[in-house]
């Protein structure tokens, strides 16, 4: 593995390996000394052309826990706003001696361009490119789900419910049923999750109003529904993942994708009634930040089966795993 650009690039075995590594990283975080010497002397550059506090903090925490040095670059107030190109920025970063680049950009394919244009020759981690991909988000969702989903679990009545303990090594998500609800059209989280969860053996159902679904998604390996309630009844999900809806998309200027927040909430929001309709063991996930009262009610967000805070913690473990796997193998192919 040279770069981590897309959840689609990961094979089943690679994805399981990243998740196993992430569990090992999580285990080290319970020790007296959380810092590992693994990447001592390496420099990781966080190249953020788009604002994202939590993803940047998560990558920064991950790199620092592995003893790497971190340089943060944000486009705001930098030469980028004076017209510097991605190429120039990349080469400047390289000249400073970076060993890996974490990139967030508003344009789809920016991470791929950076990795393959020949400007730099260090591992590139995609931290979100436009509406395209956000692979570490999908990995942290998979890690969370792997902890809470027991194959042949309570739904089949055979095994006990998963209790959120670290998943055994080598486990995938065979048979897990996941519903992803919300603005699929603009969501790199949805795309990445469809790719990764399917690779790991889960069955994904997307639920969204027709205006918030992309065209040409016939070849996506998932099912699509316009009706949240019908989907819950039909799928009996092990997890429901709510996507963030941006209020500005409601106005005519933002595209007018749906008439009003109230209407969206009624059709596609997660509240107490839908929470009750879900199987008892099903968990609630959200990539954050949440719009309480829009796509999720406060009750559902604070439900004991809500795993939103845990997802953030798992994010650090997953990013530690990704940095370790990309930086440790210098030239050794998986």
């Amino acid at each position: 593995m040279k770069h981590l650009l897309s959840a689609k690039d990961l094979s089943h075995d690679e994805a399981v390996m990243v998740l196993d590594t992430a569990e090992a990283m999580a285990a080290t975080q319970r020790h007296a000394v959380k810092k590992l010497p693994t990447l001592r002397g390496k420099t990781v550059v966080n190249l953020f052309f788009e604002d994202s506090t939590r993803t940047r903090l998560s990558f920064e925490a991950a790199a620092k826990r592995l003893s790497a040095d971190v340089i943060n670059f944000s486009a705001k107030g930098s030469s980028v706003s004076k017209g510097e190109t991605l190429k120039d920025t990349a080469q400047t970063i390289m000249a400073m001696g970076a060993d890996a680049v974490v990139v967030r950009h508003s344009a789809c394919g920016a991470a791929h361009l950076l990795a393959h244009a020949g400007w730099i020759d260090v591992p590139v981690l995609n931290a979100g490119d436009g509406t395209h991909q956000h692979p570490t988000q999908a990995l942290l969702d998979a890690m969370t789900l792997r902890r809470w989903y027991a194959p042949g679990g309570p739904a089949s009545g055979s095994a006990r419910a998963a209790d959120g303990a670290p998943a055994p090594q080598g486990r995938d998500l065979e048979g897990a049923r996941v519903i992803i609800v919300g603005d699929v059209l603009h969501s790199r989280v949805a795309r990445s999750n469809v790719d990764l969860l399917t690779t790991l053996g889960a069955r994904v159902t997307l639920v969204a109003p027709p205006t918030l679904l992309p065209v040409g998604m016939d070849d996506w390996p998932c099912e699509v529904s316009y009706d949240f309630d019908a989907a819950i009844a039909a799928v009996e999900p092990d997890a429901v993942m709510m996507l963030r809806v941006q209020r500005e998309r409601m106005s005519a200027a933002g595209g007018g994708f749906f008439p009003s927040p109230e209407e969206y909430s009624r059709g596609y929001g997660l509240g107490a009634v839908r929470r009750t309709a879900m199987p008892e063991h099903a968990i609630v996930m959200h990539p954050g930040p949440m719009n309480r009262g829009l796509e999720i009610t406060a009750d559902a967000a604070d439900d004991p089966r809500s795993r939103v805070v845990e997802q953030v913690g798992n994010g650090v473990s997953v990013r530690m795993a990704a940095l370790y796997l990309l930086l440790a193998d210098e030239g050794n192919q998986l």
């Binding site: 390996m17 196993d20 590594t21 569990e23 090992a24 990283m25 285990a27 080290t28 020790h31 007296a32 000394v33 810092k35 590992l36 010497p37 693994t38 990447l39 592995l66 670290p166 090594q169 370790y324 796997l325 930086l327 440790a328 193998d329 210098e330 030239g331 050794n332 998986l334």
Partner: protein
């Protein structure tokens, strides 16, 4: 170590490996005056089954003595503490399990299959230090093949095995999928040639 039986010169068979572990168990009891404060930690991969066997041997050897019983056994993964990152194919870290979650008041016996450069043990000492402060740390290995690159030595050795650098010591254990326990010396160059 490799699961398949390698072709090479067999140094130890199943019976000799077991005998070495029993002898080490007695040495440990003698030196630590019983097994009550001991904790056995195996270093993956080869050290883990050896640690289990050593704990069983200690329980047998300590029978009738005060505070007898099998000492707690755990595993100590050292992947994240290695200093040769990038020189070897990637290793997926394995779980570290510390019985009772604390090293306080314990004498830790680290167990590994082969002692070679000493770098694994250095990494293990770092890993242990991150978890807590043990009263003392001792090292038991099945085979000491020399060629140390660091000032590290084992407290308990199953067999001292002088080797050349071009040779490879392979420890096959049934727990790791081998047909039978064996310690074999393989000439790395001929092994490459026959591959």
């Amino acid at each position: 170590m490799a699961a398949a039986q390698p072709s090479g010169k067999q140094i130890l068979g199943a019976a000799e490996i077991q005998r070495s572990l029993v002898r080490i168990a007695h040495e440990i009891l003698e030196r630590n005056r019983g097994s009550s404060d001991l904790m056995i930690l195996g270093i993956p991969t080869g050290g883990v089954p050896l640690a289990q066997r050593l704990a069983a041997a200690l329980e047998m050897a300590a029978k009738g003595e005060e505070g007898a019983g099998a000492p707690p056994v755990g595993t100590l993964d050292i992947t994240m503490y290695r200093d040769d990152l990038g020189r070897h194919p990637i290793r997926v870290p394995r779980p570290t399990r510390i019985p009772g979650e604390t090293l306080e008041g314990r004498t830790v016996i680290l167990v590994d299959d082969v002692l070679f450069s000493g770098r694994t043990i250095r990494a293990a000492l770092d890993a242990l230090g991150a978890i807590g402060r043990a009263d003392a740390v001792q090292l038991a290995v099945l085979v000491d093949r020399g060629h140390r690159q660091l000032p590290i030595r084992a407290d308990y050795v199953g067999k001292n095995l002088p080797t050349s650098r071009s040779e490879k010591v392979v420890v096959a254990l049934t727990e790791l999928g081998a047909d039978a326990d064996a310690v074999t010396i393989v000439d790395a160059q001929t092994q490459e040639a026959t591959r």
